[in-house]
Amino acid sequence: MKKRLLLLLSVFTFTLSAFAQDTTKSDPPLVISGSVDTYYKYDFSQHNNIPTSFASDQNSVSIGMIDLALKKKVGKAAFVGELSFGPRGQYQSIPNGDGNTTNANNSFHIQNLYVSYDVTDKFNLTGGYMATFVGYEVISPVGNFNYSTSYLFTNGPFQNAGFKATYAFSSKVSLMAGIFNDSWNLYKSVDKVNTFGAQLMVSPVTGWTAYLNVLTGKLSGTEFDLTTSYQITEAFKLGLNAADYKPAAVAGTGGFTGVALYPQVGVSKTVTLGLRGEYFKTKTGSFVPLGPPPGSSVFAATLTANVKAGPLTLIPEFRLDSNKNNTDGFTTKGGGLTKQASQFVVAAVYAF
């Protein structure tokens, strides 16, 4: 592994030094983008039941995050630095410090912090702390149709720190391979940089893109993921996410598997309706995902509308989750065991 890392580093260093003298015709300005989001949620049991990420506060007008991304590209070299402030952008999605006890209360606020270099038009090298390439949904509410998130998203990686190389064979096929820190969602490795990740992108027809992802490491476990979306007509889009996760031996046995379907239809210039139907199964074993206990399953249906007014999107949504068993974690208003949980959310997301 050390030899592989040294080889990767030497290739990276060589390419940087070989192309560092390139002159640039013009310097695009620093670009600022981001979003703010706020929401109200009401769980009909009058307490929190559904354990997926974000939209977590019961009967409360609450904040998501303010997300600020800076991007600069000069010639072939670029950086992205994305900072987030608020529950969604801090303790709900990123670690505070770097793992040192003395930094436990030092919030770094980093969603993305990486540099990249276009070695050629088709070949790119990127290194740093990046949003994960795995999965359909993302942390930024601007990137999701639904405001609440899936079980697959909640249990998958959020960020991976590492180094990756991407080669575009054509506009229809590209391949990414990289080496990442041994644990997901941390600013630094626990001990090693030994998680391998790869992504094959294919776009068979215009409007249809599919990503086959794998992330495997001795500490992080192994996740296989298929993420695809097809804009079949101007009004109708179909998305699909399927994943299977097996924890590393040191983390336990079991894991999870699941599939989510995302049909969306534009009903007017400003309104799009969408459904997310997800089946999430926890495997029998010692690993405990967020969701039903090991050996059980849940089906979650979320009906969401996106109402756009320029950069502002209003997102009302109704969600019904059905566990396999009464004892899988949901409780009624009176505290009794139940298979079902339901909630209403209305969120406002402003993108800039």
Binding site: V31, I32, G143, T206, G207, T209
Partner: protein
Amino acid sequence: MAQKDSLQMDENNTYVYYKVVNQVAVPETEVYRRAWDFARNLNRNSRPEKGQAEHAFNISGSFLVYSGTSLMRKESGAVSYLFNFQAADGKYRFKFGNFKFIPYKRDRYGNMVPASGLSTPIEKLADAYTQKERDAYFDQIAANCIYLDKQLKQAIYGTEIKKVPAKAIKVNTDKW
């Protein structure tokens, strides 16, 4: 006149940037060759294709359009086009047309990328975009066509404008 006024409606009710240039002193075959070389640089992933008429070709290309100003300026989409060129005795004509808008959105890494890959003819932008957004896009489409028009002219006439280096003004510090 707004730059978008440089775009015209053709007989098919689609927007085009169309020019006929007369009294060209360069021989027809040379005009065609130089325009071909110019077109090869429009799209690295594609080569010009010969047209049915003599000394005619076409090639597709695209350019980015932006929204916002200053630090908030970012790519809001790409506009693809078809470039048709024909040289004749003492003249040439060309057309940028078949404009299609491909909207962009920000991806998980903070980059602006095509939202779905589907494109919309610019004549149908009114279905999804405000008048202000459409005006901005049309202005940029026209500006890009005007820029490429000038580049083509330079390629054909071989009169690339070269900047004359400014003479350095020296001062004699020995004197008061």
